[in-house]
């Protein structure tokens, strides 16, 4: 249950970073996304992990994200009992850091459980999903993630929505 409870959070994070990774490395179909790579025809090998400041930035983003979700009365009940236990809260924080860092191209390895069936039985509604996405965008904006990178997330989140909501 512990992993299930934050499974949809990490699922969103994973989709987000994969989408942004695709944009930053020039793999996306959005032509705007590749502009930052220069015009020499030699794509930069810089990962998003490096682009946005590495481990310290990831730790800060996750910490801020948990803080924003905590203050969000629409969805904080999904996480409040986890947060009431310092050990479980640290576990949630550490797994999110690992997952986000790993997906951004950092050296960290995700050591949590896989997310298969993570959303089953959670009865997540459209409004819950939208609330979490909104919180995520807030944290990314604060972390100075570029508009183009944030915009690229939308394409990955749209199909994810139907897999999470109402399961």
């Amino acid at each position: 249950m512990k992993t299930m409870r934050f499974g949809w959070v990490s699922g969103l994070l994973l989709s987000m970073v994969l989408a942004t990774a695709a944009t930053a490395t020039g793999c996306g179909s959005d032509s705007d996304g590749g502009d930052d790579n220069g015009s020499s025809g030699q794509p930069e090998q810089k990962t998003l992990y490096e682009k946005y400041g590495g481990h310290d930035t990831v730790v800060l983003v996750v910490k801020n994200f948990i803080g924003v979700v905590a203050a969000d009365t629409r969805i904080n009940g999904f996480f409040a009992d986890t947060a009431a236990d310092q050990g479980r809260l640290k576990n949630l924080n550490d797994r999110l850091v690992e997952q986000l860092a790993s997906a951004l191209g950092g050296p960290e390895t995700y050591t949590g459980k896989d997310m298969a069936s993570a959303h089953k039985g959670m009865n997540i509604k459209d409004a819950d999903f939208d609330a979490l996405v909104e919180d995520l965008v807030k944290v990314l904006t604060d972390a100075k993630v570029e508009e183009a990178d944030i915009a690229a997330i939308g394409g990955a989140l749209a199909p994810l929505r139907k897999d999470i909501v109402g399961k």
């Binding site: 409870r5 948990i66 803080g67 924003v68 905590a70 203050a71 969000d72 009365t73 629409r74 969805i75 904080n76 009940g77 999904f78 996480f79 409040a80 009992d81 947060a83 009431a84 409004a127 819950d128 939208d130 996405v133 909104e134 965008v137 807030k138 904006t141 508009e147 944030i150 915009a151 997330i153 939308g154 394409g155 989140l157 749209a158 929505r161």
Partner: protein, 231 residues
């Protein structure tokens, strides 16, 4: 006679023991939904699968989680006033809110655990807006363990980007006038056109937080959110 009395006595004991359990159960459940009994409700939620809103957290756990986060990000001076769409933070009770709901014209229901009142399609005048303003699609009133209002969330969905930006600017100006200056200056990214993006204004005081945001969601247009919280 003695045999008859014993028989009635046995029947009475049997009837009492049969009734005692349901009576005790009803009493226990009733008590668990009072502010004093909510820790018990939290235990029941864990042990017996009693339905709770948003997972199995108790109102006390949710409130500790919420306040802990807001205190870290809170300001150093108190707000001049604490606007909350006409409700009074740390004073309005669930009963007050239900009375308001009956007259609001919205469709309201209390969450299991009695920690929140959710309303849909609330006409703007019921939350201090003008008659021509769009209705609030979702309104959430959240109550602390003591049964007093701790946060108000209002969401309007499917707005045009320009209408959302204009509404947010109007709300921000009103908040600045009533509560004090914002902690985070408004950002103005391009909203809409199927892109994920957000413009927001945040107000942080030692006893109050307010967040206004317009989030462009690729699947449902722009969502304007107002959140007013006690700290």
């Amino acid at each position: 006679m003695g045999t008859e009395r014993r028989r009635w006595s046995r029947r009475a004991k049997a009837a009492l023991s049969t009734l005692a359990l349901p009576i005790l159960g009803v009493g226990l459940i009733g008590f668990a939904h009072t502010p004093a009994g909510r820790p018990l409700l939290g235990w029941l939620a864990t042990a017996a699968g009693c339905p709770m809103p948003n997972g199995k957290a108790t109102p006390a756990q949710r409130e500790a989680f919420r306040v802990g986060a807001l205190r870290q990000a809170g300001g150093s001076v108190p707000a001049t006033s604490r606007p909350a769409l006409g409700f009074v933070l740390e004073a309005t009770t669930l009963d007050d809110a239900r009375t308001w709901a009956d007259a609001s014209g919205g469709r309201c229901e209390t969450d299991a655990g009695a920690a929140a009142l959710r309303c849909r399609d609330v006409p703007a005048p019921a939350v201090g807006g003008a008659a021509g303003d769009p209705p609030v699609d979702d309104l959430l009133l959240s109550f602390g363990p003591d049964g007093r209002l701790v946060a108000v969330d209002a969401m309007r969905r499917g707005l045009r980007p320009d209408a959302a930006s204009e509404a947010m600017a109007t709300l921000a100006a009103k908040l600045e006038r009533d509560a004090g200056p914002p902690a985070v200056a408004p950002a103005a990214p391009a909203l809409g056109a199927g892109k994920l993006g957000q413009a927001s204004v945040r107000f942080r005081f030692s006893n109050y937080a307010a967040d206004l945001s317009a989030t462009s969601l690729p699947w449902s247009g722009v969502m304007l959110r107002e959140q007013y919280s006690s700290i």
